[in-house]
Every structure is written in structure tokens, then in C-alpha cells.
Symmetry: C2
Subunit: 223 residues, 2 copies
Amino acid sequence: MKYELYYWPSIQGRGEFIRLALEEAGADYVDVARRPNGMKAMQAQMKRNAIFACPFLRAGTIVVAQTALILHFLGPRIGLAPKNEKTQLWLLQQQLTISDWLVEVHDTHHPVGSGLYYEDQKAEALRRSVDFRENRLPRFLSYFERLERPKGFTSLELSLFQMVEGLRYAFPRAMKALRYPKLAALHDQVAARPRVAAYLASERRIAFNRQGIFRHYPELDSG
Amino acid sequence: MKYELYYWPSIQGRGEFIRLALEEAGADYVDVARRPNGMKAMQAQMKRNAIFACPFLRAGTIVVAQTALILHFLGPRIGLAPKNEKTQLWLLQQQLTISDWLVEVHDTHHPVGSGLYYEDQKAEALRRSVDFRENRLPRFLSYFERLERPKGFTSLELSLFQMVEGLRYAFPRAMKALRYPKLAALHDQVAARPRVAAYLASERRIAFNRQGIFRHYPELDSG
């Protein structure tokens, strides 16, 4: 099966969770919006399939949106989920909590409106980041640190790698002050997997930047 | 099957989407936290099952969290989803967009931190509400207004009823200024369904209040 991923071409963002899964699985996929006229193709597909927001995935006649749901759909098809349906639903539940976490990461720099510049909501961002670093970040980290995961490698491990990687980029000081040894070890194990390592070293991996969800503004990481 | 719903006992919140589904289906369920010692029982279950946040549902040995996933799980079991798996996934995708929408409703009054009082983030709430009313609310409403839903009555219709009901309570002025005739008609059809009508008139339906997700603060609805 050839997969078509549709997502913003210049950021990791939510699409990165799908890219990591497709790369780890060695799946045959196209990152459509990064090809010539790709944004036009993405807009056409969004209209045709009534998609509220990207990322979305096309697999033959099936079109799926919502990051966690795309991973739930892909998992059994590309060998990144167990066969057991109960475990698949459990994985989706965890992935949805990661989606919630990611919204909160985004809102540290965009607490007023996603259509406004960071500079126009900096005062609010400073306050929200304090709350995030002091309350929400430890809460999510300790939840996943303690969570017992079923045997086998799934997209959940890839997603937790990406959360740790992104949070260390965005909040290096806050992350250094927190203890999450199991997640840190998992992060390193995932990064060392041959296909993940090759992907991270390739041009296909977009660098973190100030258009994405994980953004490093030193002022949001201290004080 | 007897279902146990676990959610905060004094608000509609996210739990209301599950309550509406169980009520419409005439399912045998207990709203655990609203019974004597219910909060204690809820806390014990959260610990035992590693639940990040309520609502969650217990059905025999299965425990499911995340509102949209609970509805996806319940749908085929209580006659609120079609048999077709592709349609079930599509419904879940829509429900996840409703979950995203609901976070944005919540953040109009809590843009800085969910652990802080509204009064301590009122300045930020005023700004965020303007963005919500002018950009996000019309975007979500027009998406669901235009969305072609498959035949048959599902939890999606119940959830859209609840969104319209809650938004009219929280933002009466903004909602009056917007056009959404199909959703308005759907709202009325759902409210008139015998079981829904009986539920809404009963003591089981908690009134909207200033602890819930939909809150009416006149200052957030104008200016």
C-alpha cells in the first residue's frame, strides 16, 4: 500500500508523529505537501474530503484525519500495533493523551490565538508557560514515566520519543530540572533504532524551528 | 451490560457527552461519582487503572478513557453507531474534532492555567474570547454546518446538540449573530427525542454553571 501523508511542509508539528511511524515501518509513503505543487494538492484534498485540519492520510480510497486516529489506523497495517483489539484501543487512548499534551505545548506560545503572532501574545505566553512548566509538564511526564506499556514496539514509543525530543528543545532548562529516567532511556532506545536514526540524520527530518509546535523561546523556559 | 461512568459529579463537562449517549440508548448505567462515596470510588479506579483524567467508563473488565474514545467504544454496543467499521472511524474523527473544539471553549475562560481561578486570568480570557468568537467559533460551526453526516442517529448528533446548547448558554450574543440553520434544526430534533427530552427535564441533567466547561461570563461574550 502506498500512503500519502498531507501536512505542512516546513514544520515537524503533528505530522511528525505520522512521519516517524511511516519511517520506522519502512512504509512506502509520499509527504505530499513537500513536493512541487504539494500545497495545492493538499488544499484540494482537504476540500474534497471535508478535512477540518491536517495532518491527514490517504490510503487508497480511505482518508483519515486526526493524528492519534491516523496512528490507530496505520498501526496494524504497518506492523506498529499488536493484533489484540483491546490493546489497540488502549494505545489510542494513550495517544489521545499525547494529543492533549501537545495542545498544551502549543498554547505556551499561543495562549490567545493561533492566528496571532507570538510577539502579540508574549505577556500571556509568559504566564501560561509558568503554569505549564510548574504544573502540566510534570503531570504529563510523571504519568507516562509510570505508565506500564505492553510488550512490543508501537507508535506510542515513537510518540514518546518525539515528546521528549521536542520538550528538550523547547524547554531545556525545565526538562533538565525534572526526573524522568525511564522516558529518557526510552528516548535513547528509539533514537538508536536503525530506521529512526537514518531518518533523523536525513534531509527528510525537518529541524525544529519557530513555526512549529515545539518552539524555543528562552523567556518561556525560565522565571 | 451495566456501565459505570466516572466523571465530576457537579458539572456537565466532558462527561455530559457520555451521559447523553447512555440516556438516549436507555442503557443500564451508574453515574458513580454522584452516588454516596462516589468520589472516593472514582479516585480508587483512576489509580488502579492508570487513568490520566476523567471521564472514563467501566464495562465489565474493560476501562476506557478519553471522551471520544468512550463514545467510539459505546456506539456499536448501545445502538448509536452503524455496523460499518469505516463509518465508525469517520465518526470518531468527527468526535475528536469536537474534543478539540471543547478545549478551545474551556480555554476562553482558562487561557493561562486550569488550576487558577477565572478571576486570576480575566485579562487573558478577554483577549482569548475575542479570538474565539471571531475566528474559531465560526470556523468550527461552519465546518459542522456543512458536514454531510451518514444516515442513522449516532452519538455525533447528540454531541452536536450539546455543543450548540452549551455555546448558546456561554455565548448567547455571539451565537445569535451567527448563521447555522442546519445545526439549529438538528439541535431541536435531538432535544425533542423522547429519551433526550425526559433526561433534560430530569434531575439527572446538571444545570450549566460556573464550574463547567461552558460558562456564561457576559464580558467574554461582547466587546
